[in-house]
Symmetry: none
DNA sequence: GTGGTCTAGACCACG
DNA sequence: GTGGTCTAGACCACC
């Protein structure tokens, strides 16, 4: 499980942790029944305060992605993969939708918008190669 | 000049005001030399705190879009249209880029991402018809 | 809005705050559109740390009972009464169910259990007079 | 001696073990002079950490329910039945009392509370038939 | 060792 | 003024 956290930027650290766990589970990189890193361990790895990790884990628990096993850690639940794939799709769709709505509200023409989208889409795909 | 403000939601109200003025100028709906509404007037119209409008106007002034005319209000500058078209493009591109980066980070496949984009793109265009 | 908090005892303070707001809304003592006390205000009143109150308020927001109004406070939502009455019933029923299941598991006879329940029920009702 | 342990849920495992031994003795299912399972044996049976069982047995010893016999295990004491019947009653009464107090604090009417109690009471009794 | 709660206090964005 | 986030560190229960 690899995390990359941007401590600056507008997105709270704990939200970044939540999202990355969700993406990891959705992608199958984190298996059902396995344990995500302990609060202290991950805090040390990410150079953030344990409380920040703990808050992320509470959110993940609330989402049904992990369940606390007392004395052992946070275990990935059986319904996590389904929930995470759905959640991932929702998160991504929501962000795309908001961006495109902003674009439409800006009175840019549909052609201009599509050009921008295509440019950024190839840029992103290029990065993934 | 029509404003639509979403008091809830993650985007600060003052940013919404700034963006909508920029979009209005960029689209040619707000002319050079005209005056945007007074702080009090707009605050009343939008049911927001005057401080919020004032902050938006400060930003617009700092961006060179409007300039204060004592006793008369905020006048749209001659360089505003050029600046706003550029700024608009930057704003929209930035949001699209961020959304697509998030999509890539989520480990969704490029195909799935493109499908989501296409769905939302037609949805947005549909709304504009 | 009156709160009574038991800082000792097994129930976390933030849960007590959550429950009491829910009960207040369910009982009609807290109206839709009104604002619950600010974090700092309630923290001072209850002699607890503001963070503790903030955590309770986050839970209430997650439950859809209140919504943050930036710069103004936490407003009771329109769906709060329905949600709170339902939630209250669930909470109380859950506690009663657990107690009675424990009683059944203890191999006490149904008659003994009913006697205990009746005793405690009259004791509680007596306190409310 | 049959145990049913819920590893999740709010009740600590060691408390569940303690309670079930108490209930077994109170109901006469566990006889004076008999031996309860060894720590290792029970831990293996319940898929629980031996420390957890050991802690439960410490509590039972402290309560005077069992007494350690070197090399042979934990023996049920002669005063255990009386103590367990009393303890059982206390435990059950305490849980019922707490549940009903919560119900009263929730501002549900006495009638609503009684209805909930009756519903759950018949539900529990139904399960025992 | 694990997570959970609480206090303490800083800093920030927003209105 | 409001809530939101983060760091810091204590204490606890449980395994």
């Amino acid at each position: 499980m690899l995390f990359s956290i941007h401590a600056d930027g507008p997105v709270p650290i704990y939200e970044q942790i939540v999202a990355q766990v969700i993406y990891g589970v959705a992608a199958g990189a984190v298996k059902v029944g396995s344990f995500i890193p302990s609060v202290r361990e991950l805090a040390e790895q990410l150079l953030v305060h344990p409380n920040t990790v703990a808050r992320a884990y509470q959110d993940l628990e609330r989402l049904g992605v992990v369940t606390p096993r007392r004395g052992r850690g946070m275990e990935v639940t059986s319904q996590a993969p389904t929930a995470c794939r759905s959640k991932r799709r929702d998160l991504v769709r929501r962000r795309i939708r908001d961006a495109l709505r902003e674009a439409a509200a800006s009175a840019l023409t549909p052609d201009e918008i599509r050009n921008l989208v295509d440019e950024e889409l190839t840029a992103v795909n290029g990065k993934r190669r």
